[in-house]
Amino acid sequence: MTTRAPFTDERRRALEQLGASVPLVPGLISRWLAFLLDIAVMMLAAVASTYLIEWTGEFFRLDKFPIGHRIVDVTSRVTVLLVWLLYFPLSWTLTGQSVGKAILGLRVVRSDPRHPSETKLSLPRCYLRVAGYWLSALPFGLGFLTAVFNAEHRTLHDRIAGTRVVYQPSQRSKYRRG
């Protein structure tokens, strides 16, 4: 059962009072918080995988082999690279949410006026969005700031990938007590 997320009610009322044409979409601060959480998750995953590989290397006594250290080192680096390469695209294409976005109740959807019903993101589109992150960040983060001057709060990477961020409808009722 999906309903409107309860925490958005207050925001909707406030935006109505403002009298501006601001649709009910998440603002910059929610998105920034979600991004920070995602970075923390990725760092944790990278650190945990590095430790795991090192322990595995120690367990199998790879340091006894001439290239044992090299194997552990290369594997750790590849794993960290994989975490950074796969985390965002896979989470967006599978659920539309990364961990940070899920915690903040946000979701990335496709924003194509020709196909308004299609919200699911393809993997290439997700990679395009990740590339857009770098482009947004490069000119002193101005790409992120474009969201401020846009009613739908779309950033540069949203425009590049043809996406937008919306509030995830609440699916809480089945977990709630009473």
């Binding site: 309860p6 207050e10 998440p26 603002g27 918080l33 915690i103 903040l104 977990y175 007590r177």
Partner: protein, 112 residues
């Protein structure tokens, strides 16, 4: 008459002092007795295999009891849900404040 009153006063003080002393002593004895009893009980429990069996049984009962499990699960998930809700609500309020600021700024710039 006066000397008799003085004698009675002295006697009263002595009786009061004695009563205090008895009270203090009985308190000490009771405390010592209780401590000793408690220590003895704890030592006896620590040496008793039956006590460990009982603790194990109680723990096993609590761990496997569906009601207890459900209660712990409910409390944990409820706490996490509340924390997430609070974070979302705070972020949404911050978004609104930021939007309000931007709109005011825009209106001011347009007015100029």
């Amino acid at each position: 008459m006066i000397s008799r009153l003085r004698r009675v006063g002295r006697l009263k003080k002595r009786v009061e002092r004695a009563a205090h002393s008895i009270e203090e002593r009985s308190r000490q004895v009771t405390r010592r007795g209780l401590q000793g009893g408690l220590e003895m009980t704890l030592i006896a429990l620590a040496r008793s295999p039956a006590f460990y069996r009982l603790v194990d049984e109680v723990v096993q009962y609590l761990v496997h009891h569906p009601d207890v499990e459900a209660l712990i699960h409910q409390q944990t998930s409820s706490f996490a849900i509340d924390a997430v809700d609070e974070l979302r609500a705070t972020a949404a309020r911050a978004d609104t404040a930021f939007d309000r600021m931007v709109i005011a700024l825009r209106r001011r710039v347009t007015a100029k």
